[in-house]
């Protein structure tokens, strides 16, 4: 497949430069892709991966540099030109149309038609072939795409790429929306593609995935290629991390927790349930303690956090903060009691993307700064700047729109909101999703700092090692039930997975 080093590369980019007003997004990128290989693109948020993908997809025109496709110099002047060459891109936000059927989505833009009339039967049978080729013949071509899971939509998106004689598929963090099980499926599809001679550019923050699926690696940093054509099998992880960050980062979780005090619990949840979603959830978190919720996506972990926070209405059970029972389904009551919540979907649930950073940081506290309803913006700015500095927010200018920050820094802004608020209890849902390795370590340190200052943390993460590394105690959730409660010292990753699988089957 990919061992054919002597053959002409499918794609070769040399010295690609792309400048935007005020910033050099790409500053000399080299990339070489061989037919049928799985080429991993690594780099922190802001290293230039997205811009590079857009150049490949024809959405951005490079200012300098050369692109050769099968040895021939080409310009990719438009997205159509990219598709005509055989380059397909799967963005993180899947570009499928929910209201159309699977087959209609696959042939969107190049419909199979005769004289303007759609040839429904032909496109259905062709769609069926493509889906079978991807090993997903269970997806019916007539099904409405909106009813599919994220994984199903991804398959449709890939089938669309294949429907046009595609030679290279760019996948931007395809696993971010998937369960571990679905990731296995994705890998199977990627292997099938590569066996058929289709090259894949695979972008992911997860090192273990790259180990499993990748052939070669290119590392970007600050818009430059710092290493290219690294063999996945022969490059140790620490080396990759130091290439990406320019410094050595140990993948630790900030050392052991200071451990819970012996005080009364800050958060006490008793028999909490939402009908049809989860039931019988009881847990306590003491000041200075981290409690983790482990389980699969869809097991009900996020829903538990949202219910504790009052964003969903519990059908039974109680939530107490420092002994005070919270009103069901009232976020403002939870906030007033000192609970903070950093949701999984930062962009859609957490941030006002076009508003400046400081207003996002003070979104839950601006009324506190205000006097008699009059905003005190300079005080807000000061408080936000203080936190931004303490968290090493980059860039440190809190007047910028949040949209312009990288994922890791957006997460820091979310956490800063609750630091300004001064929460006793903090609920963190996937705090490191979409966050690169460097910023991840900072977030771990921040979590430690929070617990040292006496905050009680309840953490949800899909990465089991993260839960076990950060938490003092862990609850394993499967299918809406708590299947295990215990200290993290008494359990390892395999046992958690076993419990999850057993529970999901039961």
């Amino acid at each position: 497949m990919a061992d054919d080093a002597t053959a002409t590369p499918l794609l070769r980019m040399t010295g690609i430069v792309k400048t935007f007003p005020g910033a050099r997004a790409l500053d000399g990128v080299d990339l070489e892709i061989r037919p049928g290989e799985v080429h991993c693109l690594l780099g922190q948020n802001g290293a230039g991966k997205s811009t590079l993908i857009k150049v490949l997809a024809g959405a951005h025109q490079p200012d300098e540099g050369e692109i050769r496709w099968e040895g021939e110099p080409v310009t990719i002047g438009s997205t159509m030109a990219a598709l005509d060459l055989g380059i397909a891109t799967m963005y993180q936000e899947l570009d499928v149309v929910d209201g159309l059927s699977v087959a209609e989505n696959i042939f969107l833009g190049h419909e199979l038609a005769a004289g303007g009339v759609l040839r429904r039967r032909v496109s259905h049978s062709r769609a069926r072939e493509l889906l079978a080729q991807l090993g997903h013949s269970e997806i019916r071509p007539g099904r409405e795409v909106g009813t599919l899971s994220a994984a199903g939509k991804q398959v449709v998106s890939m089938a669309r790429a294949l429907s046009r004689d595609t030679r290279l598929i760019v996948m931007d963090e395809p696993s971010a929306v998937l369960d571990p099980e679905e990731v296995e499926n994705l890998f199977r599809v990627v292997r099938t593609l590569s066996a058929q001679g289709v090259a894949v550019v695979y972008i992911s923050h997860r090192m273990d995935e790259i180990r499993q699926i990748g052939d070669r690696i290119t590392v970007l940093k600050d818009g430059r290629t710092v290493a290219t054509g690294l063999d996945v099998a022969e490059t140790p992880t620490p080396e990759l991390i130091s290439l990406m960050t320019g410094r050595d980062v140990a993948t630790d979780f900030g050392g052991a927790s200071s451990g819970p005090g012996t005080e009364e619990p800050a958060l006490e949840v008793t028999d909490l349930a939402v009908e049809g979603v989860f039931d019988g959830v009881s847990l306590t978190v003491r000041p200075g303690e981290v409690v983790g919720l482990a389980g699969l996506v869809g097991a009900g972990r996020s829903e538990i956090l949202e219910t504790i926070y009052g964003a969903r209405r519990a059908t039974s059970g109680t939530v107490r903060v420092h002994g005070r029972t919270l009103r069901r389904g009232s976020v403002s009551d939870a906030v007033a009691a000192g609970i903070g919540f950093a949701p999984e979907e930062r962009k859609s649930q957490g941030l006002l993307l076009d508003e400046p950073v400081y207003r996002n940081i003070t979104l839950s506290t601006f009324a506190r700064f205000a006097r008699g309803g009059l905003l005190a913006e300079s005080a807000e700015r000061r408080a936000a700047s203080e936190q931004a500095e303490a968290l090493d927010l980059q860039p440190p200018d809190v007047g910028r729109a949040v949209r312009t920050l990288s994922g890791g820094n957006q997460q820091k802004a979310m956490l800063a909101r609750w630091l300004v608020h001064g929460c006793d209890v903090l609920l963190l849902d996937e705090p490191t999703r979409g966050v690169d390795v460097g910023a991840r370590a900072e977030i771990y340190r921040l979590i430690r700092r929070l617990t040292e200052s006496g905050a009680a943390l309840l953490l949800v993460s899909s990465e089991i090692d993260e839960v076990l590394g950060l938490a003092d105690r862990v609850l394993v959730i499967a299918d809406g039930h708590v299947v295990h409660t215990g200290t993290t010292a008494d359990i390892d990753e395999h046992r958690v997975l076993d419990l999850v699988m057993e529970g999901a089957r039961a």
Partner: protein, 343 residues
């Protein structure tokens, strides 16, 4: 100014590494830049006015005529700015204004006309407007009806109610105290214009400088984020529509003063003019960004345009076409600004 976060930052979205620029170079600010464009458009219209009608076009008398024209639509547009900033739309303001004039003039005519204090008239108009707005707000916030539909229903229903109450008659307001106050001048400026100025300043202050305004922007920008930050989104939505209704009520008072009559046809299609003024003023229809200054400029542009056409004895149909062109142009420019921001 604080309503307008910087736009200088499209590129760092992809690099995230930019450390130098921030403080040194002057940042282009959307709100200010957009307002500047509107001011230039307004000046251009005035220049055209002077060129075609002579210097009296910018004379004090004509300016006062223009401002008097702008007062009703102006106060209504300020209310609508709040609703649109909060991510909604209010189609009912025109009919609500009509209903308020009818209700108030009915109160004035059915009781012994001379005995009614003008305050009663005003209070009645404001109350009717506010209640209609609150009903809209409740339907949207707690009834789960999208604002387009809820206020469309109010548009139809309020007009109908106005016709029922007035029996489709025009009701002359003869409360002398009311006419004395609202048709008079204060410091050489019509009271109508004073009311517009006060509402505009209060609206600007409320949106840009208070926690209420910040909540409005947050609710419009990302309702889920606002809710999860502890803002009572539904309650706030009710108040925002209430403000729009109140402004329609104030508009009704001005309309009663200008025409000395209440009728169910007052404010016909006014909602469209109001939305147009708000949108060309730079308030995003999608919510999350609003500019009272922009709305006022938008209202003034349309008022000057109207005056320009009247002065030159031009057909109102030509005027309508021109207004349409201005709206499209303004929205295209707005899109250009925001798409540059979102790359």
């Amino acid at each position: 100014m604080s309503e307008s976060p910087s736009t200088a930052a499209e590129a760092p979205a992809t690099t995230g590494q930019q450390t130098v620029s921030g403080s040194g170079e002057p940042k282009f600010r959307l709100g200010l830049g957009h307002s500047l464009g509107l001011v230039l458009a307004l000046v251009a219209l005035l220049v055209v006015g002077v060129a075609t009608s002579g210097e009296r076009f910018v004379g004090l008398d004509n300016i006062m005529v223009i401002l008097r024209q702008a007062a009703v639509i102006g106060v209504v547009s300020i209310g609508v700015t709040f609703v649109i900033t909060a991510g909604g739309i209010d189609l009912s303001v025109g009919s609500v204004l009509g209903l308020s004039t009818v209700w108030a003039s009915t109160v004035a005519t059915q009781t012994m006309a001379e005995d009614v204090h003008w305050i009663v008239l005003v209070a009645c108009a404001l109350a009717v407007g506010t209640v209609c707005g609150l009903v809209n707000g409740f339907l949207v916030a707690y009834g789960g009806v999208v604002s387009f539909i809820a206020t469309l229903a109010m548009l139809v229903a309020a007009r109908g109610l106005a016709e029922i109450i007035s029996d489709r008659q025009t009701q002359i307001v003869s409360v002398q105290g009311f006419l004395d106050v609202f048709r008079g001048n204060l410091l050489g400026v019509p009271v109508l214009v004073w009311v517009f100025v006060i509402v505009a300043v209060a609206g600007w202050f409320l949106l840009a400088r208070t926690t209420f305004g910040r909540r409005t922007i947050a609710v419009g920008g990302n309702p889920e984020a606002a809710r999860l930050a502890g803002i009572k989104v539904r309650r706030h939505t009710v108040w925002v529509f209430g403000i729009s209704g109140l402004c329609a009520g104030i508009g009704a008072v001005l309309m009663l003063a200008r025409t000395t009559a209440g009728t169910s046809t007052h404010g016909y299609l006014l909602e469209l003019d109001a939305i147009a003024a708000v949108v060309i003023g730079g308030t995003l229809l999608a919510g999350g960004r609003g500019s009272i200054v922009g709305t006022v400029l938008g209202v003034l542009i349309f008022a000057v345009l109207q005056n320009l056409f009247t002065q030159n004895n031009l057909d109102s149909s030509v005027q309508a076409v021109t207004r349409g062109a201005i709206i499209v142009l303004a929205v295209i420019l707005q899109r250009r600004f925001s798409s540059a921001r979102r790359t």
